[in-house]
Amino acid sequence: MADLSINFAGIRSPNPFWLASAPPTDKAYNVVRAFEAGWGGVVWKTLGDDPPVVNVSSRYGAVSYNGTRIAGFNNIELITDRPLQVNLDEIRQVKRDWPDRAVVVSLMVPCVESAWKNILPQVEDTGCDGIELNFGCPHGMSERNMGAAVGQVPEYVQMVTEWCKLHSRMPVIVKLTPNITNILAPARAAKAGGADAVSLINTIMSITAVDLDKMAPEPVVDGLGTHGGYCGPAVRPIALRMVGDIARDEELAGLPISGIGGISTWRDAAEFIALGAGSVQVCTAAMHRGFRIVEDMIDGLSNWMDSKGYRTIEDVRGRAVKNYVHWGDLNLNFKTIAEIDQDLCIKCGLCHIACEDTSHQSIAKLRVDGARRYEVIEEECVGCNLCAHVCPVDGCITMVPQPNTKPKLVWANHPNNPMRVPEAAE
């Protein structure tokens, strides 16, 4: 039985599954239910200065795909709309009742030192395990010079992080916004400011849909809409890339990463951990199906680790990072070719039409004694994987790496590269 417990930047939890700062962690009632269900920790929904913000009615938009609900999700909700003291009292009680779980408190106050100096001791006094700085919320708060408005300016990220380290002894996690060109800039700023860890990604600025009857972006509030923050399964690839970029950056070596973005299953979590995450945060999947989803996340991750011989999360963490390279490091002499298992083929023709119309005309459409048959034309196949992706049958089309007779060749040395590094003279 694998040991799933973690020590993330000094914050301990029995498993790496935390609920992200969001509606599911807005109050003690929800958080207690989450802990009862088995979640290892929570990041309490962002606290701010009194008086509390006011939220609109009609807050979520969603992207359904082929009848599957919530492939992507967005919200125009702001930070907690409850008084500060109510939250602080509940946090104190919950941490007291659940000492083995991680209770991290998300914070967002105006970008002046006095505001942070005021709130930090009050939060620290609850006995919580750490704070997460919400530098990512891309709507509503950013228009008040908070949230993403801070996260998009590395100098501000560093400055506020420094204030937090100066005015508290708590571990500081800086939550990064993806609404930026290069994720490394704010991550490095956080580290320079003394951050104990980063978490990412916050939500992506988005319009999920346009209501074609009301002619307004969704979610529609009294006939009008605004952009929101996008999350859910659809954003996972974007989050994975940003996590990987930070994990492999030499300047950021050793900076703990809490992975966030569309994590719905143990497998999603394992992928984030393999790319360097030391904990993972979940929101949309829980909002879709309830807190009970963590049971399979824990069980599935543990079973998978057992099957691979990994004993601890540290055994898995970062294992894929060294294989996440720049394009220029890829071997141009590598070749892989599609192979169709004719016994598994159901004759849908999708591989053929995808290749014929949009790729390399390397899957022949045949009739043998009247029966459909699709065959790879190996000499035309460039190994693009498209057919394997469109094939609806698991294992029917596999990409077969070809025996490599040539040495590894990267772009820097390729004859077609005008900027090629000249061979050293004999």
Binding site: G67, I346, K347, C348, G349, K365, P392, V393
Partner: protein, 448 residues
């Protein structure tokens, strides 16, 4: 109280009868339809299209359901099959499009093509009862004999091409077997007539009821009065058992029983036996037996002279009958109808077994099934009499039906035929294809 001659009406309460003859397979909800449509892989060179006798572009119409383009979806269906609504309900999809669905190879659970076709066609019929636009009038007039699926499919396509069509129908209602010959719960809520109205909405089609070929008019008159003629006259005859006792009271043709049931305003007025024996192995036998059960018959048995896979009713149809409490006995052929006081009391069957070629061979061994009512469903036959003039047949036949070529042309110039009166499978969808192809051929003929 006799333990035979037990034929009575109103065996079940009205509410039970209403439920028994309501839509057997209710439509998909909009969400169910989108989810089911999303199961379609949108195959290229899709096998289902090839398996549809009318060649509907099935992946395209399903894709349009998934994108909520229901008008486009329905029009995609109707452009190939104007009876798309009834075919969605009565087609044996399990041996046609759904049998060919690639998901059968993958998981033995095909996309529910029939149910999706119903979703699209129902939507359009409800939202736009007249969606067709005719080509400019050509001034040509075509006579269509028979207002069944073949005749009306032909008439509709001819009307679209701008021709004027007169349909001559012997029965009081249009629709052919959809109106008179198919189980009520398959085409509930008067669907056959609603579909006829939808088809006629194209305009340019006049139907004259009570006009019977051979009695009220003949082919030569039609050839004289019209520019072209289409014969969709079906199979008017019913095959006899040709055994002793066939005239006993309580012995009926299954097609008559079904027609009467379909036309009955009140199902509670229909007499049905307590013990019913149905003889035959096709859809008519299934429809008769199942409806007998649903009218309240206590004990219904279908007896077929050969095995399960020899029955022309599909396996799904057989199972449908069985889940309705119908027992199916194989490998026995009726030997004698037993009677008392002129009324049938039972059927003596002779057990059969397959010979070397798989045909039923009598064994000499017999058994008796008691019966208050016997429904004969051993096949319909084409009756050529209306095509005679002065004692001779006016056009060529082949295998007992009207002979046609690849363009549905008969041996008489300008006369075309299709549906059950020509060779081929006896399905609504096949009749529609015949009518459609004949219309295209007629259109080309009239354009010369």
């Amino acid at each position: 109280m006799p333990d035979f001659f037990d034929i009575a009406a109103g065996r079940l309460p009205a509410a039970q009868l209403a439920a028994n003859f309501a839509d057997a397979h209710p439509p998909l909800t909009p969400h169910e339809a989108v989810v089911e449509a999303s199961r379609c892989y949108f195959c290229y060179d899709a096998p289902c299209i090839e398996a549809c006798p009318t060649g509907i572009d099935i992946p395209s119409f399903i894709k349009k359901i998934a994108t909520d383009n229901l008008r486009g979806s329905a029009m995609k269906i109707f452009e190939q099959n104007i009876f798309g609504g009834s075919c969605a309900r009565v087609c044996p999809t399990e041996v046609l499009c759904e049998a060919a669905c690639v998901r059968m190879a993958e998981e033995e659970r095909p996309v529910s093509i029939g149910a999706l076709q119903r979703r699209a066609t129902d939507w359009l019929m409800q939202h736009d009862p007249a969606p067709f636009t005719r080509a400019p009038a050509t001034g040509k007039r075509v006579a269509v004999v028979g207002a069944g699926p073949a005749g009306l499919a032909c008439a509709h396509r001819l009307a679209l091409h701008g021709h004027e069509v007169t349909v001559l129908e012997a029965r009081p209602k249009s629709g052919g077997l959809n109106e008179y010959g198919i189980a009520a719960y398959k085409l509930a809520d008067d669907f056959a007539q609603r579909e006829v109205d939808f088809i006629l909405s194209v305009g340019g089609i006049t139907i004259e009821h009570g006009k019977r070929l051979g009695r009220d008019f003949d082919v030569s008159a039609l050839r004289r009065d019209y520019d072209a003629v289409f014969l969709g006259i079906g199979q008017e005859g019913v095959r006899a058992l040709a055994i002793e006792g066939e005239t006993l009271d309580g012995v009926r043709n299954a097609v008559d029983f079904i027609a009467e049931l379909r036309q009955a305003e009140d199902k509670a007025t229909l007499p049905i036996g307590r013990r019913v024996v149905v003889i035959g192995g096709g859809n008519t036998a299934i429809d008769a037996a199942t409806q007998a059960r649903r009218l309240g018959a206590e004990d219904v048995t279908i007896v077929y002279r050969r095995g399960v896979s020899d029955m022309s009713a599909t396996r799904d149809e057989q199972e449908w009958a069985q889940t309705n409490g119908v027992r199916i006995r194989h490998w026995a052929t009726p030997h004698r109808l037993l009677g008392e006081d002129g009324h049938v009391t039972g059927v003596a069957f002779m057990r059969t077994k397959p010979d070397a070629a798989g045909r039923a061979m009598a064994t000499g061994e017999t058994y008796v099934l008691p019966a208050d009512m016997v429904l004969k469903a051993v096949g319909q036959v084409f009756v050529a009499d209306p095509l005679h003039a002065d004692g001779t047949l006016t056009l060529a036949t082949s295998d007992g039906r009207i002979a046609v070529d690849g363009e549905m042309r008969t041996s008489l110039p300008g006369v075309y035929a299709g549906g059950d009166c020509v060779a081929g499978v006896d399905l609504t969808v096949a009749a529609v294809q015949d009518g459609k192809r004949a219309a295209e051929a007629i259109n080309a003929f009239l354009a010369r």
